[in-house]
């Protein structure tokens, strides 16, 4: 589908932001989005949560002086304290985005945006208040601080239990920057367009009928200050090259697509310079290639065209129980939905009940010590992994980031929590996973990177497959759906290969697997070693009402799950 090529994954959410967006209620934001993107008579849908004012690309290279930011921050903190806040924090943010969209031989859209403003959070008598402003002057920001205090005082009247904030030491003046090699905004737009068009050409040369490609680039320049005595200047970079290739068999009317095997990453433009050592060959008998910290869009586009064509005539799967061998580009999404979301403490406690739902992994459930998965399942949360989307020095409430265990040898040992949640499970400190999508939204608990640890013993994908009698190898993330308490899920993929008697035989199609989270993770029979480890990531993890998007990565090595129920998704329509 023309516009339906940006996959997005979520707590529930931001489904294909494009085609399946309901074009219904009148929302100014959507309308402006359409207007802005209607250039040249094309009607492209808007991209969620990457808003801001449209600017000249040159403006994306500007930075704000930290001394000025400190002065502004102090104005906010002083105003909040003077008005009666026991604690306050301020985030002065410049959120910069550029996206380039192309299809086949033409550019569809190039957009550069900037959003500048500040959000102030104040705690008064145990109640939170939040206010934001785009007037970034000492007076403007102090006014926002005063309204945050006023809102806190109003909320305090209906508050049943006071907020308890885990103690946090101030860090003084510190800074952190994503360790990028090349700022994507320093690369001329022309060069980016040429790269996407070259990838499109590769796909068309290799038999694709259509290709839509896009490059998303993000820079969050965030300054955080709090009454704890922290002044934290951070420069966060992210990039996401992606495409969808479609092949059509005109005679039968059949069409099949294959999406890019890239990941959204916490890297600079260097991600787009291929490096042989960062390619991971898929199993023998497939033409799958995985990508670690560097991506080869030209090679992947060519391969995607071949895959899409092959899918047109691939055998339809026979439904039944199979041993699944899932590659990291696929498994990341399953981890996201079946481990990442159920272990968010606010979901567990019911704060998201009216939206994405709650969780089976309640405090009572955890106390029963029921295995979440088999002994081979070790899952960690972190905001540190180089190249990951979660990697930052400090979170959006000034807590230094870390790594911690969620599942250890199959048992749930911990949740994800922030400063005002830590006490709910008797913890003395925040995990450092608080995030807001912009200066104008309030920060709250968001999923850190959640990753499955690779196996300790040396094990290659081919060795793993050699032990599988009847199985399916799945690569890439496809269709995804899970219930509101994270029990029952169904996942598709990009490419599927049958495994018979220890060997890959042929490509198959129409595959989706359905399982229960606990049964699935208890059927885990181990992962390949570190050499196979890879991140998958998304920009569009949605949570909250109004919904906010967050970027998150999930690492894993190729992993085997035994006896999983596979369905055939082919249907006949009139």
């Amino acid at each position: 589908m023309t516009d339906d090529f940006i996959a997005s994954y979520c707590c529930y959410l931001t489904s294909k932001p494009f085609t399946f967006q309901t074009p219904i209620t009148l929302k100014r934001r959507d309308f402006m989005g359409l207007t802005g993107l209607a250039a040249g008579g094309l009607l492209l849908p808007s991209v969620p949560s990457l808003g801001g004012m449209l600017v000249d690309p040159e403006q994306l290279l500007e930075v704000m002086d930290p001394a000025l930011k400190k002065r502004l921050a102090d104005a906010a903190l002083n105003a909040a304290k003077a008005a009666g806040a026991s604690y306050a924090d301020v985030r002065i943010g410049r959120y910069l985005n550029q996206y380039v969209f192309t299809r086949e031989k033409q550019v569809q859209n190039i957009t550069s945006t900037e959003s500048l403003g500040a959000g102030v959070r104040a705690l008064v008598n145990g109640a939170w208040g939040f206010a934001s402003t785009n007037i970034v002057t000492e007076a403007g920001i102090a006014a926002a601080a005063s309204s945050a205090v006023a809102i806190a005082k109003a909320n305090q009247k209906v508050q049943k239990q006071p907020v308890q904030l885990a103690p946090q030491r101030g860090y003084g003046e510190v800074s952190w920057k994503t360790p990028i090699e090349k700022n994507a905004f320093e690369v001329p737009v022309k060069e980016k367009v040429e790269l996407l068009l070259a990838a499109n050409a590769k796909a068309l040369e290799n038999g694709a009928n259509y290709i839509n490609s896009a490059l998303f680039q993000v820079n969050e320049q965030k300054y955080f200050a709090s009454t704890d005595g922290s002044y934290i200047d951070q420069d966060v970079h992210r990039i996401w090259p992606t495409f969808t290739v479609t092949a059509i068999d005109k005679a039968t009317g059949k069409f099949r697509s294959r999406e890019a095997m890239s990941a959204a990453m916490g890297l600079g433009y260097e991600y787009l310079t291929p490096r042989a050592s960062e390619k991971i060959a898929g199993p023998a008998g497939t033409t799958v290639v995985g990508y670690r910290q560097r991506y080869d869009i030209l090679a992947d586009a060519a391969q995607a065209a071949k895959h899409a064509k092959e899918k047109l005539t691939a055998k339809s799967v026979v439904p039944g129980k199979y041993d699944l061998v899932l590659d990291p580009a696929h498994l990341g999404l399953t981890i996201h939905e079946s481990v990442g979301h159920p272990t968010e403490l606010d979901r567990v406690l019911g704060y998201e009940a009216n939206f994405a739902g709650t969780s089976f992994a309640t405090l009572d459930w955890k106390a029963k010590n029921i295995p979440y998965g088999s002994k081979q399942v070790n899952i960690v949360a972190d905001k540190l992994q180089p190249g990951s989307l979660g990697a930052v020095g400090y979170d959006d409430e000034g807590v230094k980031t870390k790594e911690w265990d969620l599942i250890k040898e199959g048992k749930l040992v911990n949740y994800q929590k922030i400063r005002d949640q830590a006490h709910m499970v008797g913890q003395q400190e925040s995990d450092g996973c608080c995030y807001s999508q912009s200066w104008q939204d309030v920060q709250f608990q968001r999923m850190p990177n959640v990753s499955l640890k690779p196996g300790n013993a040396k094990l290659s994908v081919d060795e793993m497959i050699s032990k599988v009698d009847k199985g399916i190898f799945i690569s890439g993330a496809g269709s995804y759906s899970i219930d509101q308490q994270r029990y029952n899920f169904q996942f598709g993929g990009q490419v599927f290969y049958a495994i018979e008697k220890g060997k890959i035989t042929n490509m198959i199609e129409d595959v989706a697997y359905q399982a229960n989270t606990q049964e699935f993770w208890n059927s885990c029979a181990g992962s390949c070693d570190q050499s196979n480890y890879q991140l998958m990531g998304t920009f569009f993890d949605g949570k909250g009402q109004p919904s906010q998007s967050s970027a998150v990565s999930h690492g894993s090595s190729t992993t085997r799950f035994n006896g999983v129920n596979v369905i055939n998704t082919a249907r006949k329509i009139g």
Binding site: Y12, S15, P23, T35, A39, T252, G253, N354
Partner: protein, 444 residues
């Protein structure tokens, strides 16, 4: 200042155009006032307010186009915004799909798209409404999580070819999930309106609370093909993809002509004119409909008119970009705002009475495409799923995962009820035979 009058906004737009040196220039001014409040565990969790006006300027030189935006309206800022759009346009590549800006257009009137009561919503109104839900749930000893969101605003357009448009709109939307303290029952209700005067959070809370109480201790029954009654909120969602929105989102002519749509024809072309659904299926859009009045012009200025999409099961029209309409030589019809599926007079209760065996579905959730070739979607039932026998609800049943296509669903039509507004559309409850549930879920 968020809701500018027609004269105020056109005055700004005229000034913007007067600063332009481009071959073509179009300016869009839009703004809104609104706010939201969210609760969980019977307490307010977050609240916020929005008040913003912004201007988008598109400048074109030949086939090159540039867009810039601003949200201040003094002469200097407007001038800079126009200049920036022109600078970006000069650097842009030529668009092979260039279409000239539209000249003067005639739009139908839709005065009902805006209600003063919605524009006048205050933080007190929001707190009172959400307070009502919390009070009811405290009394009933159940837990609620709810969200109220309102917005009132305007959109104005003008270009140097003579196009001029202005309209005001408003919308208020509410949803609530009520759970029983033992965690075995959950119920949901949602509604949206143009006019806040029609909105009552208390009434919706009672519906959700009743569903929660009645859905306690659900029994598991085998997955398989069942006759279902899908309530309107199971067909269209406020905050998720949905089966009917998936269908209406797939009526794009270009995708069909390019061979990548369920409407693509073997050997080329599209299936417009073919009967693909039960003959009782008729879907049209009408921006002037009082209950779902919407913008009478599209983002690019094309008029939104009353339009039939599916009539008696036959695909009558597909929407398209201006470029594709010209290239393919087909009618130039923009994608609609809200749409209306014709129905009958039966309520959900009437439909239950007429059902020997079946399942009542309050809502479907986490709905995602599985195969675009057939519009196969998957997702789950949620917040109130009940077994019906001999015209009565017998007992709650555990939630199911479905794998179903709206195309197949609208061929297995048993009965159509009375349409109600959901997310800006008018959607009837539907009774469908052989709806495919593929597995059970333990989720409540």
């Amino acid at each position: 200042m968020a809701i500018l009058s027609k004269d105020e906004s056109q005055a700004i737009l005229k000034k913007v155009l007067s600063f332009s040196t481009a071959d073509e220039c179009e300016a869009t001014l839009s703004g809104s006032n609104g706010g939201n409040v969210r609760s969980a565990r019977n307490a307010i969790s977050t609240s916020g307010a929005v008040d913003n006006v912004s201007l988008g300027v598109e400048a074109r030189f030949g086939k090159r186009s540039g867009v810039a935006t601003c949200n201040e309206f003094d002469d200097a800022t407007l001038r800079r915004c126009v200049q920036r759009a022109e600078e970006i346009a000069r650097l842009a590549p030529e668009s092979p799909e260039y279409m000239p800006l539209l000249g003067p257009q005639t739009y139908v009137a839709a005065p009902k798209s805006f209600a003063a009561a919605t524009a006048g919503i205050t933080p007190d109104f929001r707190a009172t409404q959400i307070g009502k839900t919390m009070k009811i749930c405290d009394e009933k000893k159940v837990t609620s999580a709810a969200f109220l969101n309102d917005e009132a605003g305007f959109v104005a357009k003008r270009n140097n070819k003579g196009l001029e448009a202005y309209q005001q709109y408003s919308n208020v939307e509410f949803s609530i999930t009520v759970r029983t303290p033992d965690g075995t029952g959950s119920g949901y209700a949602t509604a949206d309106f143009i006019d806040a005067a029609a909105f009552d959070a208390g009434k919706l809370t009672l519906t959700a609370a009743e569903k929660a109480a009645n859905s306690r201790n659900a029994k598991a029954i085998e997955p398989g093909k069942y006759t279902v009654i899908l309530e309107p909120a199971a067909l269209v969602a406020n905050s998720d993809a949905s089966l009917m929105a998936a269908l209406m989102g797939a009526l794009d002519a270009r995708n069909a002509d390019e061979g990548r749509s369920f409407l693509s024809k073997k050997g080329g072309g599209n299936r417009k004119g073919e009967k693909l659904f039960d003959e009782r299926v008729t879907i049209y859009s009408d921006p002037a409909n009082a209950e779902i009045a919407s913008l009478t012009f599209a983002g690019d200025g094309r008029p939104q008119k009353k339009m039939t999409w599916i009539e008696k099961g036959v695909v009558k029209n597909l929407y398209t970009s201006q470029f594709w309409a010209k290239k393919a030589g087909i009618p130039d019809i923009p994608r609609p705002g809200g749409w209306i599926m014709e129905g009958g007079t039966q309520s959900v209760q009437d439909m239950i009475k007429g059902t020997a065996k079946g399942i009542l579905v309050t809502r479907l959730w986490y709905i995602r495409p599985v195969d675009p070739q057939t519009l196969l979607y998957t997702g789950l039932t949620r917040d109130g799923t009940f077994y019906i026998e001999n015209g009565k609800i017998k007992h709650p049943v555990k939630n199911f995962r479905f794998n179903e296509s709206p195309i197949i669903m609208l061929n297995n039509l048993e009965a159509i009820g009375k349409p109600v507004r959901v997310n800006g559309n008018l959607v009837p409850p539907l009774k469908i035979r052989d709806f495919t549930f593929t597995s059970l879920s333990d989720a409540v």
